[in-house]
């Protein structure tokens, strides 16, 4: 009889487990399908701008030089990325273009050659295709193209655009433009107006002096730091500001929440109402969240690193307060009793009985947060207008400086990884360097509080 019952209960268990084994993935799949429909993935594929993705990837590793003819005045100018700060001095062109009276010959490489002819006419020799001739007659663009136009040429009455592997040509009534693409980031070290542009490092370091006023090294450092295209000086400041926000926010919050943590811990504050009140304050600070704090504070203090630091400080006071009070509730009472038995004053109980016990736990939390807050500071910077986050969003809004975006992203990743290893190093140094080897766990209590004592990873941001 007992065997039959055992069989039955085992059967029931198996059925339940089988059911769960199928139902759980089914629920997840159903949820994913619901989200797939709710987020409108199908419509998204249609709306996606793959041409944007193409320009983005192309821009990250290459740059283009524009050669522009103003079709009203006939002036030909050259500028890197078409920006004023990247323009060539008037009347000069890059060495792959040459001007002779009203004719400009531009060779794009691989036999592609564009010629600006007089009277706003244009000739583009495309190998293995032929010669395209175009011009402006009256208000219209006219070409020698027949009806059978390949898809890399777009032609309308007012505009001709040709895109090949070597570059792009566009012709409208107001101007003729040629884009020539080159690999690399343009003018990364020196802009065109710097005397050091086009010189190698060896020449700058050991070659003859290029300007009479400065030595080569100080002049080169100055021109690099103040590079108008890449603004290296501003970028370094922005990175510093971001780290500053994280540093001030994290450590400010830690200092404020330590005494508050004592007030919220059961074993240090006998007054229930005080404890309850302080805990609700922590919940409130965490619940409002960095986003709302940022909005609120930037109304009062304006955009900048101070606002970002305070937003992090307020949110993290909530998080640290909760963690610290829980750590304090787990301290070993025996050490405090020991201190008390020597006739120590109450303040000495805290100093010698409590602080040494909780310091490793608290420090390790704080350093985990320091790294996470570097990332938060980047995001908050984008909203509140400070640090590298602001530079990133500014570069993104132009929708064409993708090489700068790539530069900033690389720097952000390096910065976060550096802060990660720095905080890891400090954590090891400070915690294993002091008397306690590991985040201490209360020995006197039972197994379940031992689990609770492991709060170190549980509260990772």
């Amino acid at each position: 009889m007992a065997t039959a019952e055992l069989y039955m209960s085992a059967d029931r268990l198996f059925t339940r487990k089988k059911l769960f084994g199928f139902a759980f993935p089914a629920v997840i799949a159903a949820y994913l399908i619901y989200v797939f429909l709710a987020f409108d993935f199908v419509g998204l594929v249609e709306r996606a701008r793959w041409d944007n993705a193409q320009t983005l990837t192309r821009d990250t590793w290459s740059y283009k030089t524009h050669i522009t003819r103003d079709n009203r005045t006939g002036d030909v100018t050259a500028a890197i990325e078409g920006e004023r700060k990247g323009s060539y001095p008037e009347g000069t062109l890059p060495d792959w273009a040459s001007q002779n009276d009203a004719t400009t010959v531009i060779s794009l490489g691989s036999g592609h050659e564009v010629t600006f002819l007089p009277d706003n006419r244009l000739r583009y020799v495309v190998p293995e295709f032929g010669t395209i001739e175009a011009g402006i007659e009256g208000r219209q663009v006219v070409t020698n193209l027949t009806d059978d136009i390949p898809d890399w040429i777009s032609l309308s009455n007012t505009r001709l655009a040709i895109t090949t592997d070597e570059g792009r040509v566009s012709l409208t009534r107001s101007r003729t433009e040629v884009f020539n693409y080159f690999p690399g980031w343009e003018l990364f070290f020196f802009t065109l107006d710097s005397p050091y542009h086009g010189h190698s490092f060896g020449e700058i370091l050991f070659g003859e002096q290029l300007t009479p006023e400065h030595s080569n090294i100080s002049g080169a450092v100055h021109d690099f730091w103040n590079n108008t295209m890449w603004r290296h000086g501003d970028v370094v400041w922005a990175l510093f500001e971001t780290i500053l926000m994280a540093f001030l926010g994290t450590f400010g919050a830690a200092i404020i929440s330590l005494p508050l943590g004592f007030l919220a811990a059961r074993n240090f504050t006998p007054f229930r109402t005080v404890r309850f009140g302080i805990r609700r304050v922590f919940d409130f600070l965490r619940g409002v969240d960095a986003l709302i704090w940022t909005i609120l504070l930037s109304r009062a203090f304006g955009p900048g690193p101070m606002t970002g630091a305070l937003a992090i400080l307020l949110t993290d006071t909530g998080s640290f307060g909760k963690m610290f009070s829980e750590a304090l509730e787990n301290v070993d009472e025996k050490q405090i009793e020991g201190i008390a038995s020597t006739g120590a004053k109450p303040i000495q109980h805290y100093r010698f009985g409590v602080i040494p016990q909780i310091t490793p736990v608290l420090l390790s939390q704080v350093f985990y947060y320091l790294e996470a807050n570097t990332r938060s500071a980047t995001i908050i910077g984008a909203i509140t207008g400070g640090g590298i986050g602001l530079l990133l969003t500014q570069a993104m809004i132009t929708q064409k400086d993708w090489e700068e975006v790539t530069y900033y992203i690389t720097l952000i990743i390096l910065m976060v990884m550096m802060m990660d290893s720095l905080s890891g190093w400090l954590r090891r140094k400070l915690i294993t360097g002091s008397d306690a080897e590991k985040p201490r766990r209360p020995k006197s209590q039972s197994a379940d509080s031992e689990e609770k004592g492991k709060l170190e990873p549980l509260f990772l941001p």
Binding site: L291, I292, A300, A382, L392, D448, E451, L460
Partner: protein, 283 residues
């Protein structure tokens, strides 16, 4: 024994004094850094701290002042923005789910003793480090440019970050897993995926779940912030409501209430469930 000229007591006192001096100097440097940091941040801020302090309640007062006379419209507003809130929560939930599944695979591949290809452990660890290091906003902004606004860029961005962040935590959990079931399974010829699925996952699932829950709460905050930069959900609505300006902040008030309520709710829920989990799973 060499005579040092100091009694043990004297040398001990000297040692303690030196130690105290070092800690004192360290503390002084730290406080100096903090104070000068705040002063520097204050200088580089658009408005000063002390000049802005009296105005700190102007904005909340403005929002409340706008909301209170239109209190009867508040339930309507709350209802209007509920779909946006659901979208924000959905973004967080899907990213936690998908990112968590990715993290399980990545963590198993990068744990010593469990990895499918032990030589590639450093590679997978580096990959997770990089995934963790990229702030969500970076990926989200790039994807918004390509995919246009909406919840998907935010979802993909948060998923990417979650996979890296949870992967690291999961692999710490895996390191504590008992290898005996894995050995038993391999002795009967189980494949790698069978060994992981039957031997490791049942041991670590409670810890995984606890971390994922915590991540979910963090991801709700992240998805609200990403909405603010254009990726749909309640953050996007908040940005719109903020742009109406003073006098029309009643919608913003409704959104603040929803956002605050949601974050507090999930904060408390995840704390409660994780507590229950660690106590039950205390073996």
């Amino acid at each position: 024994m060499a005579y040092t000229g100091l009694s043990p007591k004297e040398s001990y006192t000297a040692l303690i004094q030196r130690k105290r001096l070092y800690s004192g100097v360290m503390l002084a440097i730290f406080i100096l850094l903090l104070v000068s940091g705040f002063m520097l941040a204050n200088d580089r801020n658009a408005g000063g701290f002390w000049s802005g302090l009296p105005q700190i309640f102007d904005f909340p007062a403005g929002v409340i002042g706008d909301a209170v006379p239109k209190l009867d419209q508040l339930p309507g507003h709350l209802l209007t923005f509920l779909p946006a809130l659901v979208e924000t929560i959905n973004i967080a939930a899907v990213s936690t789910l998908v990112g968590g599944l990715l993290a399980v695979v990545l963590s198993l591949l990068s744990t010593r003793g469990l990895a499918r290809w032990p030589r590639l452990i450093p590679v997978f660890r580096r990959v997770m480090d990089i995934m963790r290091a990229i702030p969500e906003i970076v990926i989200a902004l790039v994807l918004i440019f390509v995919l246009s606004g909406g919840p998907v860029p935010a979802m993909l961005a948060i998923t990417f970050h979650t996979a890296g962040a949870l992967g690291k935590l999961f692999s710490e959990v895996n390191e504590n897993a008992d290898l005996k079931p894995v050995e038993g399974l391999s002795s009967v010829g189980a494949t790698w995926s069978q060994r992981m699925w039957l031997g490791v996952i049942p041991q670590v699932v409670p810890n995984y779940f606890s971390y994922a829950l915590l991540r979910f709460e963090i991801n709700i905050r992240a998805s609200a912030i990403l909405g603010f930069v254009g990726a749909g959900g309640i953050g996007y609505e908040l940005k719109n409501a903020m742009s109406w300006g003073l006098g029309k902040y009643d919608e913003a008030a409704a959104i603040f209430i929803l956002l605050f309520g949601t974050i507090v709710f999930f904060d408390q829920l995840s704390g409660y469930v994780r507590n229950a989990l660690t106590h039950k799973g205390g073996h």
